[in-house]
Symmetry: C2
Subunit: 413 residues, 2 copies
């Protein structure tokens, strides 16, 4: 990561001061693996949330969004479970989310209405509340500042690796730590994905300050990744600030900027870990859109490319089929001028520079062998200059492999 | 097909009076297969076109759209080629499209500016104009009323079967014939797809009459199918009416309605043939959306379900993961009320009726064994009642199999 802050080896959501966590096996996953987790703060947290834009919000999303609109400064805990998403479950589902929150509050000895809830897994199945409650009580009994990694493991579904990290930031007023955990393997697409993430910090902050700051960070990280173009009912990304470090980074401009960079670094690390762990993924694709009229246009074009199954299968096959990239850009709903477009490719790291594939409406500029050599890399970068303005955005995705189909063709049973 | 008109065995775009066609091998496909085709009418045709909404329109689309805005009553021929789409090819591509049209006109002895052009295949490669012209001249030399099937074969890319059909309609003023041909296997999604279709009729009509009529038909047929959610640069669907039957079906309301049904039947037959031949497809899914506030809403919800790779992989696996259907409906950008939604499943034909999977916000209503028995069928129907109004739409798609990935992972070479 960048200078100004340093990565904490094995860091997690419990790296910042005052956070504890634990996980338990509650019988939701068949193999005895951890499937319920509890994260607790020693004091109330200012909290910002970003939620799915799916019209059918899962019960935990409805519960948390309502909670944060009413009590954004009162969060003490986050209760989590994997395997069952508690989505499309109606009034009973909302009652189950409430019960899950209440159980977490009681088990951790917290005041009423201080816990948020996160669920992920099968959509449309009822939440086995008894099991989840048993798991939360077991977790509450062993809360620890070392519990962050276990919590990250508990929320995995088709993830093959737990995802957590933390950084330490030195400020003139003293150190601040930012940590986080996330899950998400398939069904990942901006706004958002079966993507759960909880970032924590011991910085001092206010809900109002955090809210716009968090949207800005999420747009450039979790909302800039795509695995399969599907948008989940459950996506939730939270940022909790408990103030235990006694440092308010918003007090001076330079520190606030450094804090934003550090939070963005944690969010990007988790987001890229999700892409790298995409269901069946064998390659990573970074899509840089430059020369757009607005950042929103740039992001929409990048997303349209990231969503294209034809681009993703070509990336899987190492096939430099760049016409598909242009065709995919054309469906973004953004006006394009073919003659102004330049498309380049490079391998990640990119010390050897960019190879121009198409420019000014003419294609097939590059030596096909050189192009294939780039597309056969494990990490590929595309740079599409729209030639229309100065705004830019970066979107990350992975390839689409036969394994994706295998993983998703029989998920419920 | 329905009563009032009858299917013509082996019918094609040359079944209506006054149409001839032929195809040739011009060296574009590697295996000596037909790859260039020419369709000619004995007299000028009133013509309506529907084109891709991709922001990067291929040269033939730009050429044809311009042509039809200026001379919609003057079409005499359609020149077609497979293997190279002449898309994202700039000014040179547009000149190549012009040259292709001119060559067709000269070879068939037609007046200047009377031919439309259709191309399909790799995006971003220059059109080998010399080869295409040689093919068009060879085709022009053997135009025949029996050539429709060969023309349909010539425009195939990853299609495994040629797609053509025709119907004969008896009207009080005499018989009218409607025929057609189409191609499209992957990259198929509404508005539109690497989908080329040419429908022909010997009915008398005017361009102005045909235009709105054709949009109505296309919305319910070619724009109601999805293979992989990708939208091509080249999609074009044409309707040519040459008047050789001497019957104007718009003269009385009942005949006009029957004519619409017959044209819709031809378009639907071709559209469903495309879905059945989707790259790697093993199953067909029909999605009925009812109870919407507007037909546009119904179609958007149906398309969102048809686009979901998670729904399509579940269909491939015979997995009754109906939560994914609801989650996919939620990304359509249409406001939904979870408590009003009912989701049912049935097998195609559906004599055994509907099985309710979710209703009023409650899911998991059905016996999982019964549900799985339906999802394991080759043809599956879903019926989603939004409970918000009286509008409806039907969308068709296919499953996503590992073969789709195999076919598309190395297409250019």
């Amino acid at each position: 990561m960048s200078s100004g802050f340093s990565t904490i080896d094995g860091g997690s959501a419990t790296s910042p001061g005052g956070f504890t966590a634990a996980a338990a096996h509650a019988g939701l996953k068949a193999d005895g693996a951890l499937d319920v987790a509890l994260l607790v703060s020693a004091t109330s947290c200012a909290t910002a949330g970003a939620f799915t834009k799916n019209a059918l919000r899962a019960a935990p999303v409805i519960y948390d969004a309502q909670f944060l609109s009413e009590r954004p400064g009162r969060v003490r805990a986050v209760a989590m479970n994997a395997r069952v998403a508690n989505a499309c479950t109606g009034a009973a589902g909302l009652e189950a989310a409430r019960a899950m929150a209440r159980c977490a509050e009681e088990a951790a000895g917290l005041p009423p209405r201080t816990a948020l809830v996160l669920s992920t897994g099968v959509i449309g199945a009822p939440l086995p509340v008894d099991k989840v409650e048993r798991g939360l009580r077991a977790a509450a009994a062993k809360l620890s500042p070392e519990g962050g990694a276990d919590a990250a493991r508990a929320i995995m579904t088709t993830d093959t690796r737990p995802k957590h990290c933390a950084v330490r930031l030195e400020t003139p007023a003293g150190p601040v730590t930012i940590g986080g955990m996330a899950k998400g393997a398939g069904m990942i697409h901006p706004d958002m994905a079966t993507l759960l993430a909880v970032l924590t910090t011991d910085a001092v902050s206010e809900p109002g300050t955090l809210r716009s700051f968090w949207k800005h960070v999420v747009d450039r990280t979790f909302n800039a990744i795509s695995v399969d173009g599907d948008t989940s009912t459950n996506d939730t990304v939270l940022l909790l600030a408990n103030g235990q470090a006694g440092v308010d980074p918003s007090r001076d401009g330079a520190t606030w900027k450094l804090f934003e960079e550090a939070v963005t670094a944690v969010a990007r690390t988790l987001a890229l870990a999700i892409v790298a762990d995409g269901e069946g993924a064998t390659k990573r694709l970074e899509i840089q859109i430059v020369g757009a009229q607005t950042e929103a246009h740039a992001r929409e074009v990048g997303r349209a490319i990231a969503r294209s199954t034809l681009v993703k299968t070509a990336i899987y096959g190492g096939d430099p089929n760049w016409g598909r990239v242009l065709a995919a850009a054309g469906v973004a709903g953004v006006a394009l001028v073919a003659e102004r477009i330049t498309l380049q490719a490079g391998s990640d790291g990119g010390a050897e520079g960019w190879l121009t594939l198409a420019s000014g409406g003419a294609t097939a500029l590059a030596d096909p062998k050189q192009a294939r050599a780039i597309f056969e890399q494990k990490a590929i970068r595309l740079r599409l200059d729209l030639g229309l303005g100065r705004a830019e955005a970066v979107v990350w995705t992975c390839d689409l492999s036969p394994d994706y189909v295998r993983i998703n063709s029989d998920y419920t049973s």
